[in-house]
Amino acid sequence: MMVLVNGKKRVIDSNFGIIDIVKSFKVEKKYLAVGLNGEFVPKQLYSEIKLKEGDEIEVVSPHPGG
């Protein structure tokens, strides 16, 4: 099925969850945060939430800022 990760199309297995998207970035999860369809997803829910067709996942990390 197709989902959007940071605005880019990604084809994933139908049993994929947030945790699988997080793992794909190959970085410890403490360095990133996740949003799903416009809502923040706390780290403790990564393993519980399964994805569905068309879901929009945002993955962010620290960036220089003023």
Binding site: N6, G7, F25, V27, E28, K30, Y31, L32, A33, V34, G35, G38, E39, F40, P42, K43, E58, V59, V60, S61, P62, H63, P64, G65, G66
Partner: protein, 254 residues
Amino acid sequence: MKIYNINLKNNIIIGSSKYSSDKIFLKCVKKTETEMITVALRKIGDNPDSFYKTLQKTKCKILPNTAGCFSEKEAINTALMSRDIFETDLIKLEVIQNEITLAPSKKGTIKAAEKLLKLGFKVLPYTTDDFDFVSKLVDVGCKVVMPWGSPIGTGKGLKNIKKLKKIRESFPETTLIIDAGIGRVSHACQAIELGYDGILLNSAIARSEKPELFASSILNAVRAAEISMKSGPIPESENAIASTSSKGIAFRKN
């Protein structure tokens, strides 16, 4: 200065953006002796852990921002994500109204501040020098408010001294920090002379030709202004007051 329950010895907060390298950024952190650094969140890129590790080297407290957020919803989501990463309740709240002036939205900022406070955040909102804007944020429970001197990155300094002075005098219990517009050390001195608790700056240091030198000068300026204010400077007078006695001038009959 006091940031909610945190007491900082130093009253300079610096941004982490626009430095030509992490090495120069780290040197500027040292030169300003800052204890608090602002950071942002953006879509994940290459080496997402490297900037975080640089931040850790500073040993400073992290003040995540909601820079670039145009709505209350965006700002709240960014704050929640920041808390998730940095494990801090601190949030520099920016809800921008205008893309060109980067002026904050009064309505959006106040609404977001109210919600974030309820969610347990320690909110440091960025505002203009509008009295009512600041007043409403104090009313909803913000212990720190950060009025601009002038628009972000302009380096124009404190454009409206009278308004900033009125804000300071009206909210003696609130920690007030001049955020944005600082471009010269004289602007930092003015902020302290007005009785503001501190300054927040980024571009002035990072975009200067020699950031380390500017960082050092800012610390010296703030210290000088603090010492000076403790000395009890003379009040301003509308009329000239001669410093030399006019009595006993040669050939004058008095």
